[in-house]
Amino acid sequence: MISEALYREEAALILACQQGDQRAFKVLYDKYLARTYSLVRRLAADEGEAEEITQEVFIRLWRKIGDFNGESQFSTWLHRLASTVALNHIRKRKSWWRRLVSDFVTTDGEYSDSVATSSVVTNTAAHASGQPVEARELEDLDSLICKLPEQARLVFVLFAVEGYRHGEIAKLLGIALGSSKAQYFRARKLLAEGLNEQNN
């Protein structure tokens, strides 16, 4: 729940942006950069690509902010915009890459049904580095999420991390409701297995 003062401040910022004030937009950018980047990074599973997508999100935001009418919270609206831009980017990347190298890709561009990969090994090194257990475990979990097969990762991030409903996810990804649920349970199973493997 955002406070009244914060709401007023944000509403003023948005209004200024809608009137073309780029300084106000920079303030809005600073405020939402981390949240937006986190979402995009988990969806794209690649830091460099996430940076490009995040830039695209804010460029689109500048062009579309006039459409924001205050019916929903701004953060929710931006969140939806970021998800859409990221998913479009991922879809586009997949389509041209598939079209070009279809005879070089053997497995639908996805990883196999195991997420216990190099990231786990990398993160295992942190075990000995004296980091707090909680933080280390969360880093491991984040790395494993990025190693999930693409469809499972997108569903998991949107449902479990970002709080979307399966109906919304199905619509966003163009898949059946049942597929969204199935991918979520697949992701959960893979993550749990990956974390267990790491602990042993």
């Binding site: 749990a192 297995e193 602990n199």
Partner: protein
């Protein structure tokens, strides 16, 4: 409690443990570089003029197909020029051989592609394309081509990239051809 595994070492993670960890995941990750300058440049109206420099200077009678093909040839020329200036590595003989062979392969493929594109340019110079999105497809392929060439230079021992580059060239030529041949058929 719903245990995931019965492994003997360590304690098995339950689904509720996993769910709890997920709720604790941070949402405050930060990019490694400053993204603002790029955003600022894109949203600054003054830069829109710069972005449209190429198209703004094209004579109105030049069909988009010719413009795109010209862009394609320019890209090829740029690649060939860059290849001519790549310094030779003498410290690692094996890598140097691969590098040399790969650069030669890129040169040969790009020259052949350039020659075929020029022939098409002559053939289709007076015929506008009918399809709507072929320029976008071509643009995507240009990007893919650059990515593959970079990969070829970074991993000169990987011969699969040669096939990939050939594949891209074929697809670029096919897109230009198809988008114009339809009109030839209808004449």
């Amino acid at each position: 409690m719903n245990k995931i595994t019965d492994r003997s070492k360590g304690s098995a993670l339950s689904m509720s443990d996993l769910d709890e960890r997920v709720t604790q995941l941070g949402h405050e990750g930060m990019p490694n570089r400053d993204l603002w300058p790029g955003i600022e440049q894109a949203i600054n109206p003054r830069d829109e003029v710069k972005e449209s420099w190429f198209t703004a200077r094209l004579p109105r009678f030049v069909p988009a197909s010719i413009a795109m093909t010209a862009l394609s040839i320019t890209t090829t020329a740029a690649v060939l020029i860059i290849l001519n200036f790549i310094p030779r590595q003498t410290e690692q003989p094996q890598n140097t051989v691969y590098q040399y062979e790969m650069e030669n392969a890129i040169r040969a493929l790009e020259r052949s592609y350039q020659s075929e594109t020029q022939q098409m340019l002559v053939r289709y110079q007076s015929r506008p394309a009918l399809t709507d999105n072929w320029q976008q497809q071509l643009q995507d392929l240009h990007e893919a081509r650059q990515t593959v060439i970079s990969a070829m230079l970074e991993s000169p021992e990987n011969m699969q990239f040669i096939r990939m580059l050939k594949n891209i060239h074929q697809q670029e030529l096919m897109i230009i051809e198809r988008s114009h041949e339809r009109e030839l058929d209808s004449i």
